[in-house]
């Protein structure tokens, strides 16, 4: 009897292990477009009061337009595509994640890029954030330290027709001096220090945005601003509208 039970448990385990692969990737492009629209509509609601923190009343229309255009489902693995338009981070392999769309929207807005700006991104991941920036900025240079991720992102962005994004595999510590200075630098790769060469490659008046936290856990956004004299200040921005003291205090 015990052996029969063991076999049964094994069969259930095997079926459960295989289950996620069977239920993914069943939507067509039109459905994804609709899901994307709904996602942006939800995100607008969540960010309504974020302006108090970032200093801008709402997120820019360019950000929303970009998020509504970039097909996030092409930037996640096939077995995660059904969750592509849920507001959550998703694994993309190699221990990396694609950020929660809400955080992508906030970071893009904080960078305040415009159509003449050149952006450097350290940590390409699947290329989604670069794709979002490419709809707003003139050119995006993006570097990824994990070679297979860099190659996959390059191929993906090329296939999807993003012509103003240049990818490169390599160490982001020294930035990409050939195209410096940059109006915006985004450091999405976790780091325990902000590399001095990146600050050097940021234009006076430029902005650097760094999500601080770990995979699945963006705790805060760090906005680094470089003034005309080259001095830097940072601002910690909590993506959550949360006050740690009770009202009566």
């Amino acid at each position: 009897m015990l052996i029969q039970s063991a076999i049964r448990i094994g069969a259930i385990a095997l079926a459960t292990l295989l289950l996620p692969a069977q239920v993914s990737g069943r939507n067509n492009e039109a459905e994804y477009t609709e899901m994307r629209r709904e996602m942006v509509s939800d995100l607008k609601r969540y960010t309504r009061r974020f302006g108090d923190e970032s200093g801008s009343p709402t997120l820019s229309d360019d950000v929303w337009a970009s998020l509504e255009t970039v097909p996030r489902h092409h930037f996640v693995p096939a077995n995660e595509q059904d969750y592509a338009y849920e507001n959550r981070p998703l694994p993309i392999g190699y221990g990396q994640t694609i950020s929660q769309p809400y955080i992508v929207a906030l970071m893009t807005d904080l960078a305040r890029a415009d159509k003449d700006d050149v952006v450097l991104e350290i940590g390409t991941g699947s290329g989604y954030q670069a794709a979002v920036f490419s709809r707003i900025a003139r050119h995006v240079y993006t570097m990824e330290i994990v070679e297979p991720l860099a190659e996959a992102a390059e191929e993906r962005l090329r296939k999807l027709g993003y012509t103003n994004i240049t990818t490169r595999s390599g160490d982001g510590y020294y930035g990409w001096p050939e195209h410096a200075p940059y109006d915006v630098i985004l450091v999405t790769a976790a780091s325990t220090s902000i590399p001095p060469p990146l600050i050097t490659q940021l234009k006076p008046g430029g902005r650097m945005v760094i999500p601080v936290g770990e995979v699945f856990f963006t705790q805060q956004l760090l906005l680094l601003e470089k003034d005309a004299e080259g001095k830097v200040t940072t601002q910690h921005i909590l993506p959550v509208r949360f006050v740690p003291l009770t009202g009566e205090h």
Partner: protein, 829 residues
């Protein structure tokens, strides 16, 4: 005395006959293997996932013991017909299912970090612990089966079960010193097979041959199949994905899996919180990971100062701006970064305390030239010890006690450390530090900056409480706090700051663009200039804690920032229930990451365990319905065994916690506490059996005095142990351990008695219910393991012991055992 055979089917044990001589050692061996398996799973799953997930997975897998109660009840009659087959087969199955279950469980794609986003993970979690529970079920079937088949011998069976388990813990911890845990896992499986073969009586050569074949098969399983599959989201695998990264060194030990990663192409540049005003680049480093996470680095050092200029730009260098050629104590030396910093600042002498001997060996031998032989210098002395134990054993005073950033930013920010007991950041710890300072000495603590602020505020609250305890009239005048873009550094001075000190601190912060968060007499506009945080700033809160109404802030703050103590050493737990509704409402903004998930995961595990336990407790009752015991009697009997199980685990867990600091390491604590508790409780159980046999009167009536003794010893220990530990702390390790073991032995001995006394009575009145009671005990152990830390987080470990004493007394006062053959033996009659 009542006869025992009355309730047995088919003639009962009289027909089965007494147990063979092989029963007890066989039970001891299978129990040793089962507990060894538990310890190894804890180690291996701490490597694969994170420690608190490992704790929860294994706790829930132990429900296999609860399931066995139901199963034995179901097949009891057939079991009694063929006792040898049942006992032997289950032990063999333990050995045979252990490795396949483990290999499959390691490959379940459970990702604990994703649990706040993706509830599917709960399904994977359930699959994971179900797979791991199967061997526990088999072992429990074996021991529980023996209790059911030979009820008159239950105390001896239980005694051997406990003593065997205790020996298993000690053997496995010792084995892990020399062998990787996955190898020890094979040993545990082989022990299970050996127990199965041994239990088969009369012994036949065929059984021996089968056992040998199985053992050979197990020993031939490729080691790589058993290697822990480290979560791809831990730091180590992510680092190894980087081009050029390779493992330079790897070792397994009870202190953890240590992995050194080198990367000549893309070097590491670990410099936590380094000033944004610098252009200095750290020299090449080797990254060292413990259990695939918690990175520390070994920095290349060729004896020249210039390449180390970046050290001046770290917030942790602040105390060196105030001290000239100091005597330094580094707590948590790791790869030696803080030692190097002290040498950079011309420290006269550095005592470096490191918990993991393999870490020190790595720097000393593995990267000897690379590290510039820093651990071999005459002005550096490395001590392998737990930080608090080191301080208690030494009387030397220092100019600076530097407490490094010991946890990785990842584990800190993800809340995975919320359940870790941490004795470095308690009020008592800070008092110890202050005692070990020279008159002008400084304690420096650096932590990651968390927003909303919680670490930093708890640190300030704890420092203030410690200063008050040491008699400082104005604690605020002994403290300084600076904040960078990523870290917070707190300085505690033994004497109030001098004006010249304050000027130097200001200068240090300004030149590196760090912010002042607290300095006596600082103006509000001096705070929050370079690294801005929206209100309320750290300075506002620090001022409230140090100059305002601290109690009001501690009460009003939504996170728990009250000082951490040795009794409640959960520095990284900030959870308060009032947070939950608000953060749930904000979950779409990612607010759940602020929950410090460790606590909630523990609650979730308990929420899963309670209904499962209820089912496992009620199910056998349905099967036993025909036995016509009254419902009230069932409730009372069940309550007795449930309370005993909970109380036993509560005391065991509380002692485990106490021994961490005393023995200097959680591994030694586990080996000494679990080992001695189980062995002495086993002896207590066997003694109860002998007394019962000798007097024929000792039965459930003895439970009240026994429980009273347990409660009394528990409460005496709570008061006396700290004093005893202070005396034993400075003794050589062997003597120290002996003092500890002897201190717990009377209590453990007494704790071994109530369960077999209950079993004796149950055998007299309703032997059919023995498996049920065994199952309840198994469920209670799981509930106790999960509930004890929750209770300790809120009320402290002393309260856990008091609650356990109360539970023992409550169990003793439950009136049960009046039915069936024997006379009513009410405990109070």
């Amino acid at each position: 005395m009542a006869t025992i055979s009355g309730e047995w089917p088919h003639g009962g044990p009289d027909r089965i006959g007494p147990p063979t001589g092989g029963l007890y050692p066989g039970i001891g061996l299978i129990s040793a293997a089962a507990l060894g398996y538990e310890i190894l799973l804890m180690r291996l799953f701490s490597i694969a996932h994170w420690q608190h997930f490992a704790y929860i997975i294994i706790s829930l897998a132990l429900l296999g013991y609860g399931v066995s109660g139901t199963l034995i009840t179901l097949v009891r009659e057939r079991t009694a017909m063929r006792p040898v087959v049942w006992l032997s087969a289950n032990a063999l199955l333990f050995g045979m299912t252990l490795l396949p279950g483990y290999v499959l469980a390691m490959r379940v794609p459970f990702n604990g970090l994703e649990i706040v986003w993706n509830l599917d993970q709960i399904g994977w979690l359930a699959l994971l612990y179900s797979l791991l529970a199967i061997p526990f079920l088999c072992a429990a079937n074996c021991v529980g089966g023996a209790l059911a088949i030979y009820p008159a011998h239950a105390p001896r069976v239980y005694g051997w079960d406990l003593a065997g388990a205790g020996m298993g813990v000690i053997a496995v911890v010792a084995a892990m010193v020399w062998f990787p845990p996955q190898w020890a896992l094979k040993g545990v499986a082989i022990a299970g097979i050996a127990a199965g073969a041994y239990l088969w009586r009369p012994w036949r050569p065929g059984i021996g041959a089968t056992g040998v074949v199985l053992c050979v098969g197990i020993s031939l399983v490729p080691g790589m199949w058993l290697s822990p599959v480290v979560s791809e989201f831990k730091s180590l695998p992510r680092t190894l994905n980087i081009k050029g990264a390779n493992i330079g060194f790897e070792s397994f030990s009870p202190w953890g899996m240590l992995t050194a990663v080198e990367n000549p192409e893309i070097p590491f540049r670990h410099a936590p919180g380094m000033s944004l005003a610098t252009v200095n680049e750290p020299p090449a480093q080797v990254a060292v990971f413990t259990d695939g996470d918690g990175m520390t680095t070994i920095t290349r050092y060729d004896g020249s100062r210039e390449p180390l200029r970046h050290l001046e730009q770290l917030p942790s260098s602040l105390p060196y701006a105030l001290l000239d050629k100091p005597d330094v104590l580094v707590l948590g030396a790791g790869g030696g970064t803080d030692v190097l910093q002290a040498l950079f600042y011309d420290a006269r002498h550095v005592d470096a305390v490191e918990l993991n001997p393999r870490m020190s060996e790595l720097v000393r031998y593995g990267y000897r030239e690379f590290s510039g032989r820093i651990y071999e210098r005459p002005d550096v002395k490395v001590h392998i010890a737990e930080a608090r134990a080191f301080l208690r054993e030494n009387e030397r005073r220092y100019d600076l006690i530097q407490i490094a950033l010991l946890d990785s930013f990842g584990s800190s920010s993800s809340g995975t450390r919320a359940l870790d007991e941490n004795y470095l950041y308690t009020v008592e710890a800070f008092q110890d530090y202050l005692w070990h300072l020279n008159d002008h000495g400084i304690v420096a603590v650096t932590r990651w900056l968390k927003l909303p602020q919680r670490d930093s505020l708890k640190l300030i609250a704890t420092a203030r409480a410690a200063l008050e305890e040491t008699g400082a009239s104005f604690p605020e005048s002994h403290l300084a706090v600076i904040r960078g873009w990523q870290t917070v550094t707190l300085l505690i001075s033994r004497r109030p700051w001098l004006t010249s000190d304050l000027e130097r601190i200001r200068h240090f912060a300004d030149t590196r663009r760090f912010d002042l968060a607290w300095l006596p007499g600082m103006r509000a506009e001096e705070a929050n200039r370079y690294n801005r945080i929206s209100r309320p700033t750290l300075h506002d809160n620090a001022r409230a804690l140090l100059e305002g109404n601290a109690e009001s802030l501690l009460g009003a703050y939504k996170f728990d920032i009250s000082p951490s103590t040795d009794d409640r050493p959960y520095f990284s737990n900030f959870f308060r229930w009032r947070l939950l509704p608000e953060l749930l409402e904000l979950r779409e903004q990612g607010a759940l990451v602020l929950l410090d998930s460790g606590y909630l995961v523990l609650v979730a595990a308990l929420a899963q365990a309670i209904p499962l336990a209820i089912v496992l407790i009620l199910l056998p009752l349905l099967l036993l319905h025909r036995r016509q015991r009254s419902g009230v009697e069932n409730v009372r009997t069940g309550l007795y065994f449930l309370l005993l199980g909970l109380a036993f685990m509560f005391i065991e867990m509380a002692y485990l916690q106490r021994f961490v600091m005393y023995t200097g390491h959680p591994v030694f604590a586990a080996a000494s506490v679990l080992g001695s508790f189980l062995v002495f409780a086993g002896l207590g159980s066997v003694t109860a059996s002998r007394l019962h046999a000798a007097t024929a009167e000792l039965g459930i009536s003895a439970i009240v005095p026994v429980a009273s003794v347990i409660a009394l010893l528990g409460l005496i220990d709570a008061a006396v142990l700290p004093w005893l530990f202070t005396i034993g702390m400075s003794a050589p390790f062997g003597i120290k351990l002996l003092i500890g073991v002897l201190a717990v032995s009377p209590l453990a001995f007494a704790m071994g008695m109530p369960f077999p006394l209950g079993m004796i009575r149950l055998a007299e009145v309703s032997p059919d219910f023995i498996p049920w009671a065994w199952g309840i005990n198994g469920c209670a152990s799981v509930l106790g393991t999960l509930a004890a830390p929750l209770l300790a987080i809120h009320l402290g470990f002393n309260t856990v012991i008091v609650v356990a004493a109360a539970l023992y007394m409550a169990a003793a006062l439950v009136p049960w055992g009046r039915f069936q053959n024997g006379p009513a033996v009410h405990p109070t009659s």
